[in-house]
Point group: D3
Chain length 68, copies 6
């Protein structure tokens, strides 16, 4: 029954990558909690780099600066 | 003042369906908490079926398989 | 599969009240989405009134002032 | 290390406005917590007015009515 | 930079189990996203079984019934 | 109407500090969005350092190590 919300910056994650995240994270959770037949639910949110701030600055701006 | 976040898979929910969810859920909450003049806030997130996992598998894949 | 998170101020909600919220909100969601066998998940968070702000002020302070 | 999630209705927030929110909110948090070198993370979600309910009614409908 | 929120029912998770969840989930995310030096943040919420509903019923009640 | 959720590690935040966070963050948001009479809602979650992971490690462990 665990519920997991994963937020990553939006950068063309493929369906396969999302599948791997869902499969891998579910496996970790169910392994540690050591129970069968759990119904782990995972939701992935892809967030625009303009909408993600770190240390007071947009990720979009940080990346631009780092690539200059 | 209750705050409610509802996540459903994205599948063409109409404006009317969203209105009904908002109206109905607010009514339940305010009825149980038994107070007038509450300002219940509800936010509905519609999530792509590729981004929703259940039991380690994407909803998009589960549905494909079930429809084969 | 809908996932719902409900945040209310912590004020001695009984187990019965929580049961009614869970039952009522699930009924609304499943009725509007019109599907059988959905596995709606609901999580209720009870938040201390010191940790809840509205219009720039703690709920605990607002209530104190209103009761004076 | 604080993590902050900000939900606002979607209404053409500019990149600059988002930058100001991220900068300003980070400054408040780090000032109050009085620590250097914190890595505050902020995520802004812009929510469609059809998906936001207040007092049992969609924001999109409330606005329409108020503008009539 | 990914941010992950994990909600599980409160049932005496040890510090070690939490450490394993944090380590394991971070490894999956960073492996799939294939980047070094990411600062993955994980927050685990432990939720009372009275506050968790599934299919319209509290987990605390479901467990009682299943153990009878 | 903005809704803001702030997660910080649990470390004896005073009522006053919470009040300052609520007041300051509300001011930033309302200033940038440039509207009067908004009803900004803020919820602060204080998270145990065992339940917060960063770069694959619990904050409680990181702090212990850094203090040795």
């Amino acid at each position: 029954m665990p519920y997991i919300n994963i937020k990553v910056t939006k950068e063309n994650l493929s369906q396969k990558q999302k599948a791997k995240i869902i499969e891998g994270v579910t496996a970790v959770i169910e392994d540690v909690l050591d129970k069968k037949k759990r119904t782990t639910v995972i939701i992935i949110d892809e967030v625009d780099t303009d909408n993600w701030g770190i240390q007071g600055e947009q990720v979009s701006i940080r990346r631009q600066r780092n690539n200059e």
